[in-house]
Symmetry: C2
Subunit: 141 residues, 2 copies
Amino acid sequence: MKETEKFNLGESLPLTQVLDSLPYNSDGLIPAVSQQYDTGEVLMMAWMNRVALEETLQHNRVCYWSRSRQKLWRKGESSGQIQILKEMSFDCDGDTILLKVDQTGPACHTGRRSCFYNVVRGDRVEVASDVLIDPEQLYGK
Amino acid sequence: MKETEKFNLGESLPLTQVLDSLPYNSDGLIPAVSQQYDTGEVLMMAWMNRVALEETLQHNRVCYWSRSRQKLWRKGESSGQIQILKEMSFDCDGDTILLKVDQTGPACHTGRRSCFYNVVRGDRVEVASDVLIDPEQLYGK
């Protein structure tokens, strides 16, 4: 994204050109941070490849790449807790994606709203948010 | 952080135990997302190692690891645009850090407030925020 560093407000590049030139890592992936669009809460970090990016933009429903399952991960496909895309942006280096989303229920597989529930308090790390929905109920286990 | 998944609200682990067991990558690094603590704006993504984490917690001033310069990067040491740490949290897997900070001026090396200024609008990617301080002024070039 070096090209846009000196752009003025409102100047733009074609999306396909940007998607072609992103600095995907050796696995073809880029980290994506998701944030609830209206409250600003940071929900989770996951990974996207080119296909996941295009699918997300096409359907406005967030699709990641699951590194553990090595396949496209349509967020909410098992749990029903989907992310509707409100806005996608790239950082100055193009090596991180920010997704402003509308998250249904918990974003976290533990059933908590956000994955960032382990908060440093002095010399301890404390669980600072409660489970909204039992994961057994979310994943039918 | 698997241990805390089933913790109740307020249960905790010792910080040193958590820092010892984080899933640092092969370069000893973990991605850290920073967010302005009061407005919720996501500012940037950078990397921390164990030393950067400890220094940040000790001084409440954010220190990253610069992958390009291969040394500790005390945010703002050249530009004066520092990040005061308000809260640090780890996600469910412990593989991403969220830093709630108070950012002085621009977080981005381009002089923009946030690094995430390249916004997808239809089939274009548009620069959606203006430069606050000219980078030549920030870095004295």
